[in-house]
């Protein structure tokens, strides 16, 4: 309903005057663009860009530490050595500790800060659904974890193939790399989901970091412990001895997300030696556990942000 002089008349009888503010008449990009923008912004925060120098210390430090074995091995290869670091397990303990620190330190930066400063109403008053927000955060953080895991693998690969002299050797390396990259994807997806889910429970970054660290570290040590106690001592160089370890040892890995992913790897045919005994016939259980953990984390995230009372 518009009146003649450009003023807008409202049903109650009041008038909104047109004092020359320009109405935006250009294109409106819609939900996909919103999600993309949020993903980009969150990705930058998860590595500390745009937050000052101190925010970058932990991400950069963890990245450097993670790349060290790859670089060291590449240098050794250049001097005539062999590739000792496997693509699919990398240096398992190092990867575990680096990822614990990275996820515990950075997941709260992505979600806890917004909770603490109560900016969620600003987000949700835009044309996006309640699930777009955690989805965007999840995509961004998964990409960040993916970079942290896969880039060292690629460095290792490049270091190896530059010394390879035949196309056959290059193809061998590529064949070995692909499963490693896929395992890395599993890692990134699961850790990002669990990290964000735990962090979304609180607005205080310190609690979030503490909870994430406790969960990951506690379960990791526990898994190793239960496996050793369960009789998984006798693991010689033959890693394909399926079913050789007692049941307790083979099930111990279900306790920790890290060993769960590794159990899935071994179930799907991975042959490199992992931190725990091969699951053998319990392999499918590891697959189920992986899906359960992932579903649980995603469900928690969705439920958390769907609540109307969040502010």
């Amino acid at each position: 309903m518009t009146a003649e002089n450009g003023a807008l008349a409202t049903p109650g009888g009041g008038v909104i005057h047109d004092i020359g503010y320009q109405h935006y008449t250009g294109p409106r990009l819609g939900r996909p663009a919103i999600v993309r923008a949020l993903v980009w912004y969150s990705l930058r925060s998860s590595v500390g860009i745009g937050r000052g120098a101190k925010a970058k210390i932990i991400p950069v430090l963890m990245f450097v530490v993670m790349c060290l074995p790859a670089v060291a091995n590449a240098v050794a290869i250049a001097q005539g050595g062999h590739r000792l670091v496997p693509y699919d397990t990398y240096l398992f303990q190092l990867r575990v500790l680096v990822m614990i620190i990275f996820v515990a330190a950075q997941a709260p930066e992505l979600v806890s800060r917004d909770l603490r400063s109560h900016v969620l109403p600003l987000y949700f008053s835009r044309p996006m659904t309640r699930l777009d927000y955690p989805l965007a955060k999840l995509i961004a953080f998964t990409l960040a974890c993916l970079a942290l895991i896969e880039i060292p693998l690629l460095l290792l690969y490049l270091g190896t193939i530059t010394q390879a002299h035949t196309p056959g050797a290059i193809w061998d390396q590529t064949k070995a790399l692909i499963p490693g990259l896929l395992v890395g994807v599993l890692w990134a997806v699961l850790l990002a989901a669990i990290g964000l889910a735990l962090a979304s429970l609180t607005g205080r970054r310190a609690y979030a970091t503490g909870s994430i660290a406790i969960y990951f570290f506690l379960t990791w040590i526990l898994a190793g412990l239960l496996e050793t106690i369960g009789g998984g001592h006798d693991r010689g160089p033959l890693t394909s001895a399926v079913g050789s370890a007692p049941a307790g040892a083979r099930l111990a890995g279900l306790v920790s997300p890290f060993t769960t992913v590794d159990g899935v790897r071994q179930w799907l045919g991975g042959t490199s030696r992992g931190p725990i005994a091969p699951p053998g016939s319990y392999g499918p259980l590891y697959g189920v556990m992986f899906l359960l953990l992932l579903a649980g984390a995603l469900g928690l995230l969705a439920a958390r942000y769907r609540r109307a009372s969040i502010s």
């Binding site: 500790l97 609690y207 406790i214 526990l222």
Partner: protein
């Protein structure tokens, strides 16, 4: 409840620390330790040395440091972060009194939430008050003291105390401590294990330091970190407005 300056600081700290939701995180690791111990005891595993693995590798390497981290950083960290520590500091109380009172609360809480459960778990696992149980208990008491001194200091020095503490525990103590023997001389976990081992004499505890070294270094680290924390608290600055 308590009177006197130190008592007042301690009583406020105690109420602030226990009253929060964070208290759930203190109890969790020890609860898991007890649960795992009971379950394993029922399951009768064949490995005879499983108690020292569970109580040493899990109890000392995970439960003790992580719980001390949460407790040690929360007795002072949150107050510095939101500025409410100003109400303590705008009084003539000596800064060292503030630090020592908060440290004492943290150490005692850690002893209650870690050392006692560790003792109980050890008694359950070994079937009685064995040398192992005694050693682990005393080692956990020492660890409660030394770890909390370090973490209280870290929370004065930085607002990201938990992340820094985590870096120390995971990178310095776990990763480097396993591979670089020089790092062990500066590892609080090793001090605790060394003290525990002097009573328990169990090679599965992975203690690499003798008791003399452990006690001396532990005392030095405790004193030095608390002194540094007091000095830094004396220079506590409030940030201005929109600068």
């Amino acid at each position: 409840m308590f009177t006197g300056q130190a008592g007042t600081v301690a009583s406020i700290t105690l109420r602030a620390t226990i009253g929060r939701k964070r208290a759930f995180l203190f109890v969790l690791p020890s609860a898991i330790l007890l649960l795992v111990t009971v379950l394993l005891k029922i399951a009768h595993p064949s490995a005879p040395d499983w108690p020292s693995a569970v109580l040493g590798d899990f109890g000392f390497a995970v439960v003790l440091p992580l719980t001390a981290l949460i407790i040690g950083t929360s007795v002072l960290g949150a107050e510095i972060d939101d500025g409410s520590v100003v109400h303590l500091l705008a009084t003539p109380v000596r800064r060292s009194t503030v630090i020592l009172s908060k440290f004492a609360v943290a150490a005692v809480l850690t002893m209650i939430f870690v050392a006692v459960p560790e003792l109980i778990a050890a008694v359950i696992a070994t079937g009685g008050v064995t040398k192992l149980a005694e050693g682990l208990f005393v080692g956990a008491l020492a660890g409660s003291v030394i770890y909390n001194a370090v973490f209280v200091m870290i929370s004065v020095l930085t607002t990201r105390a938990i992340a820094v503490g985590l870096l120390y525990l995971l990178v310095w103590e776990s990763l480097l401590g396993n591979f670089v023997s020089g790092a062990r001389i500066l590892s609080v976990g090793q001090y605790s294990l060394g003290i525990a081992n002097s009573i328990a004499a169990d090679s599965h505890l992975n203690a690499h330091l003798g008791v003399g070294t452990a006690v001396v270094m532990g005392a030095i680290v405790t004193a030095a970190t608390l002194a540094l924390a007091s000095r830094r608290l004396a220079a506590f600055s409030l940030k201005g407005d929109a600068v």
